[in-house]
């Protein structure tokens, strides 16, 4: 995973978070934040989030991996690795 891939993944994830949860300030986001508990995304928000990421990056997160992408950091890494 190159530095650039990770930056691109981060940009896509942040943009998707801003779209789904406009009140979350991604400029000052703790990447350890948990998507469900800390960012308060519900299951429909989560679906919108990964759909937005898929449209931007082409990375599809299958349902069996939903349980894996728990935090912002893991989500960025996941997108970078599968991009």
């Amino acid at each position: 995973m190159t530095e650039q891939t990770e930056q691109e993944a981060r940009a896509a994830v942040y943009a998707a978070i801003r779209q789904v949860a406009p009140d979350v300030d991604t400029d000052d986001l703790d990447e350890g934040a948990r998507l469900r508990q800390d960012l308060e995304l519900d299951s429909l928000d989560f679906l919108r989030l990964i759909k937005t990421i898929h449209e931007a990056t082409g990375v599809d997160i299958p349902e069996r991996d939903y349980a894996v992408v728990t935090t912002v950091r893991v989500l960025i890494t996941y997108v970078a690795l599968h991009g």
Binding site: A11, A12, Y14, A15, R18, Q19, V20, A21, P22, D23, V24, D25, T26, D27, D28, L29, D30, A33, D38, L39, E40, D42, S43, L44, D45, L47, R48, I50, K51, H54, A56, D60, I61, P62, E63, R64
Partner: protein
């Protein structure tokens, strides 16, 4: 001005979606109204031609004030018909999502061009109807006949040439986006919207000022104050706080009234969801993200079927007796980000195929989370006994 909540006394028109000469049908969205609780799309409950808009954008009027005059299609004049009654309406408890595929501007455009949106297949997100879809259908239709003539208003009505709608872009936008656009001198018509129904969001406006209009939001910086993950919106915190307070006031007042007038009882049970979840996983594995289900769609569907099968739990208490309801309108509570709750109700949830219910839920959640949803005002005003 319809009553949009038990304690709503006034509202302001933030956008007209129709103009004099336009044909409207029952259920067509005609205006966006700003209340303390949210921007609400107001539907017409009459069919006819818009004769006159009585309230200018930005004007605040009291509940009950006429917003527009609609004349019936052939000749008969009917006095003000866009929501004018002052009957208090707990609209929020009964707000209903529109299936997400036709955004209001596209509905209006299709309507003006005489296109039946039901017959079109959208090519946008979630099968949403895009401008190109509508224009293509209009072009196809115009080879056979002159479509605009079908909805031509009476001759004396001022009406724009039929081609105008193609060049005028009606812009859906949030109040915050409009304020920011105004302060930055941005014309909303040139901002590509990424919000619900193509609405222009504040971020979209800022993107335009910092990047070419075609840039992905991801590429453009968003100006925001530094704060924790749950911080408020990026501008006008005082305004946001006021809105939040207004929202809570409206919720409190509606809930108090509901508890006072409706007998409450609570049923609960424990379900083994393994079979359902295994089925859902199987269903989802073969589908793109946009078509996948979540358990939050299975449970309301199951509840709706239960309410259909056991009508005793689906009735109204009126005039001292319980009256069974013929339909299952399922209210779903959705938490609003930054506090609050709205409870829109997909109609006929028992008969909706699961994927349709899922679409409606997805749409209503994204509206509710963004502070926008549609109030089925006409229905409320026409059936005040249901309130």
């Amino acid at each position: 001005m319809p009553a949009l909540g038990a304690d709503t006394e006034q509202g302001s028109v933030v956008e007209w979606l129709v103009k004099p000469g336009d044909c409207v049908h029952r259920g067509d969205m005609v205006a966006v109204v700003d209340t303390e609780k949210a921007d609400i799309d107001v539907e017409s409950f009459e069919e006819g031609v818009v004769a006159e808009l009585l309230v200018e954008v930005g004007t605040t009027v009291l509940v009950g004030a006429p917003l527009a005059r609609i004349t019936q299609t052939p000749a008969a004049e009917v006095e003000p018909t866009v929501p004018t009654t002052s009957a208090p309406a707990p609209a929020l408890a009964r707000a209903v999502p529109v299936p997400g595929f036709v955004s209001p501007p596209m509905r209006q455009l299709a309507h003006r061009l005489g296109i039946d949106t039901d017959a079109l297949h959208g090519t946008g997100k979630h099968g949403a109807l895009t401008r190109a879809d509508v224009e293509q259908a209009a072009a196809a239709l115009s080879t056979a006949e002159q479509p605009p003539a079908r909805h031509r208003p009476p001759a004396e009505q001022p009406s724009a040439p039929a081609v105008t709608p193609l060049t005028v872009r009606r812009v859906r936008s949030s109040p915050l986006a409009r304020r920011v656009a105004k302060s930055l001198g941005v014309d909303l018509a040139v901002v590509p919207g990424t919000g619900a129904g193509g609405a222009v969001t504040e971020a979209d406006v800022r993107n335009v000022t910092t990047a070419p209009p075609v840039a992905e939001p991801a590429a453009a910086p968003v100006i925001a104050p530094t704060a924790g993950p749950t911080a408020g919106p990026t501008a006008a915190p005082t305004d946001a706080a006021e809105r939040a307070a207004g929202l809570l006031r409206a919720i409190g007042s509606l809930m108090a009234r509901s508890k006072k007038t409706i007998p409450h009882y609570y049923l609960s049970t424990t379900l083994d969801l393994r079979a359902a979840l295994a089925w859902m996983e199987q269903y989802n594995s073969a589908r793109p993200i946009a078509e996948r289900l979540v358990p939050a769609a299975l449970l309301p569907k199951a509840s709706a079927l239960a309410a259909r099968d056991v009508p005793e739990v689906n009735d109204f208490f009126t005039e001292g007796s319980f009256q069974p309801s013929a339909a299952v309108h399922l209210s779903v509570a959705v938490a609003v980000r930054r506090g609050g709750l709205v409870a829109p109700a997909p109609h006929d949830a028992d008969t909706l195929p699961l994927e349709v219910l899922m679409k409606q839920l997805r749409d209503l959640v994204s509206r509710a989370r963004g502070g926008r949803f549609l109030a089925r005002i006409n229905e409320l005003l026409q059936n005040p006994e249901e309130l």
